[in-house]
Amino acid sequence: MADKNVFDYAPAPESRAVVDIRSSYGLFVGGEFVDPVGGRSFKTISPATEEVLAEVSEASEHDVDLAVKAARKAYTRVWSRMSGRERSKYLFRIARILQERSRELAVLESLDNGKPIKESRDVDVPLAAAHFFYYAGWADKLEHAGFGPDPQPLGVAGQVIPWNFPLLMLAWKIAPALACGNTVVLKPAETTPLTALLFAEICQQADLPPGVVNIVTGAGGTGRAIVAHEDVDKVAFTGSTEVGRLIARTVAGTDKKVTLELGGKAANIVFDDAPVDQAVEGIVNGIFFNQGHVCCAGSRLLVQESVADEVLERLKRRMATLRVGDPLDKNTDVGAINSAEQLAKIRQLSEVGESEGAERWSPACDLPSHGFWFPPTVFTGVSQAHRIAREEIFGPVLSVLTFRTPTEAVEKANNTPFGLSAGVWTDKGSRILWTAEKLRAGVVWANTFNKFDPTSPFGGYQESGYGREGGRHGLEGYIR
């Protein structure tokens, strides 16, 4: 009866018409968009097509100085004097506008970042709004947060965020800072500035007092200027361990407070009694979510040797159903790699993996001819000594290692300079607790992976950084 049982999903693109991208953007300083002093600019492109989306200003040291001055003025004259209750009203208002404009933000995020619309729509934007809602609730209760009877804000916070979750990382940074009474100068990543600039419009829409939030766009130089600025009281950074080290060096000897959220090489440990189908989902979600551009990605799969073949077989079958392609298509599971530079890094490390003797596998998939793409990839036969088991690839590349006993699993999982996150898969509750207790990682997920919630603190051990973001703990970095 059936000619062919082929259920081809027709393209289901989300409309671009919901978002209005300007041809060029200034810097958001003192509540207004202003031209940069030096007049320099750069282009931001869609990594899926390499199409130029907009021209964005490059903030010089002088521009950063103006932004910090605006933030200082807003801090001393308005924001630090305002009651927590009043501050919370603004945060609640921003949260509601984020929800109201969620579709616009999601489309813009997918365009500028390359991530699938289903992620920006179902994860990034709702979580960003949730962070503002959550910290809005803290603004008038800080004296009950456990950090002393009369906690005070720090002043001006300089914040530098990465390109993997542009709007969400902005929310992680700005919401707690503002709730505690600080003002901010924030720099989005140079490849993904657009949602931060739309957020600037949202601050205007929310009637946020001018200067409380300042957005300066630019590359590394702009970030350095923020970090080094002498009137910045607090530096918050999310990004690579390499840049994190530079920042730590820059602020050493000053009285700036610092939180760093850096790289990771998380172990996802699958024991032989794991719920196997859900574990496979968790492995996929752990490494292919957001093209693997996740600092807490489960990039090292540690699977018990007795079930390794079966888990791998199921994993490969599942990977073959992943849909790679147009980020705006609602059925896309894996989108574009964020930049040519990142793609080159992923390619290079994958080649190293092959040359070191690991076996590489990817499902058959047609990649678009334009833009930056890398297929979901798994390396088997990886050992602790391989570079792909030690270095953060920050792409859709999974390294599979095996273990024999729970002790060996924990030893291997902890044998890394990082320590941001880890996953444990087993049906046995006592084993979850035993393993989680022994893992040196800031977040340990049990029978799930890559789940985020504003009430839950997030942060790392060792080279994964210091300080916690999210939850009650996230307030600590912004008060004294």
């Binding site: 059936a2 259920f7 081809d8 999903y9 027709a10 289903k118 029978n447």
Partner: protein, 336 residues
């Protein structure tokens, strides 16, 4: 422990539908069915199902966006997979004949509209349905074995089954003894399925679990394997008489089971969610799940069915909307 199953080389031949024969099971599976203890060891040795993860996976499959040509394909396929059902105390020959007419030509206004897969009735209505359907190609399915509770002696259940088969049923939808399953008397459940399968003769056997009563996904996975080992041609979620009836996560777990069973044995078993699927939108979510979990081989009325009554009209309305660009009111579609 995960089940130590390595797919035999024969699994490549599995794409060709093969009739279920309990006798041709691989040794380690055949040995699993020797006693209560052996069945218990095997079924409880299956990998567990994490409730949160299974539900999250089903929900994410439910977000697939099926448009235009894909939607046309899915709607026609879903219509061809419907087991148009009436299982009421008030059923009469007149009602069943009307339902049969609808089954053969669901949309009188469009001769291009496919027929449904089967009409599903109580055993005493099988003769009427058989006569009404004639050579239309639409199958007659009958519930049996003291449907819906299954609370009767085995010989009563077998007589019920034989009655329906003799009256012309092509497919028998039996219910398992949920009490026995929940009490751990797996061998009894297994033996009953084997006996009913024998009583079916050439008719295909669908085994209804009533997952709303079994409650946990672990139970759903275990009972799926139990029924498949016993020779079921189809495994079916529910009678429609207990809430919750079919859900997407339950169907997902059953689809994983038939997929794994084919890997282990080379045999394909069909899946039928029944009860509670009322909209075309829901039906499409099920088809997406079939496609991505069990695989495209199951996208066929021989391997996947919807037990439903009101679903058909929503499928027809959406189908007409796809063709004409307009929604017609419910009055433009026949009641039955």
């Amino acid at each position: 422990m995960l089940k130590p199953v390595t797919p035999p080389p024969s699994s490549t031949a599995a794409t060709a539908p093969s009739p279920a024969e309990p006798a041709d099971l691989p040794v380690h599976l055949a040995e699993a069915t020797g006693s209560d203890a052996a069945l218990r060891r095997f079924l409880h040795g299956l990998p567990g199902v994490d409730q949160v993860g299974a539900e999250a996976r089903a929900a994410s499959l439910g977000t697939r966006s099926i448009k235009t040509t894909a939607k046309e394909f899915a709607l026609d396929l879903a219509i061809r997979m419907v087991d148009l059902t009436t299982l009421e105390g008030q059923d009469t020959p007149g009602k069943v004949r009307a339902l049969c007419a609808k089954a053969v030509r669901p949309d009188p206004a469009d001769p291009g509209c496919p027929s449904v897969a089967a009409v599903c009735v109580y055993p005493d209505m099988v003769g009427t349905a058989r006569q009404a359907l004639g050579a239309s190609g639409v199958h007659v399915a009958s519930v049996a074995t003291a449907f819906p509770s299954g609370r009767a002696a085995l010989d009563v259940k077998l007589a019920d089954t034989r009655d329906a088969v003799e009256a012309g049923a092509d497919e028998i939808d039996m219910v398992i003894d949920r009490g026995a399953f929940l009490a751990g008397r797996y061998q009894q459940v297994y033996d009953e399925i084997v006996a009913v399968r024998e009583a079916c003769g050439d008719a295909h056997l669908k085994v209804i679990f009533e997952t709303g009563e079994l409650q946990t996904y672990d139970n759903v996975r275990r009972v799926s394997w139990l029924a498949m080992l016993a020779g079921a041609h189809f495994i079916k979620t529910s009678t429609g008489k207990v809430q919750p009836a079919a859900t997407l996560p339950v169907t997902l777990v059953m689809l994983e089971a038939v997929r794994d069973f084919r890997e282990a044995t080379g045999r394909m078993v069909g899946v039928k969610p029944a009860g509670g699927i009322r909209t075309a939108k829901d039906a499409i979510k099920y088809l997406v799940t079939v496609n991505e979990v069990a695989g495209p081989d199951w996208l066929d009325p021989d391997w996947f069915r919807f037990g439903a009554s009101t679903l058909l009209n929503d499928l027809l309305m959406q189908r007409t909307k796809m063709a004409t660009g307009r929604y017609s009111g419910p009055d433009y579609f026949t009641l039955d």
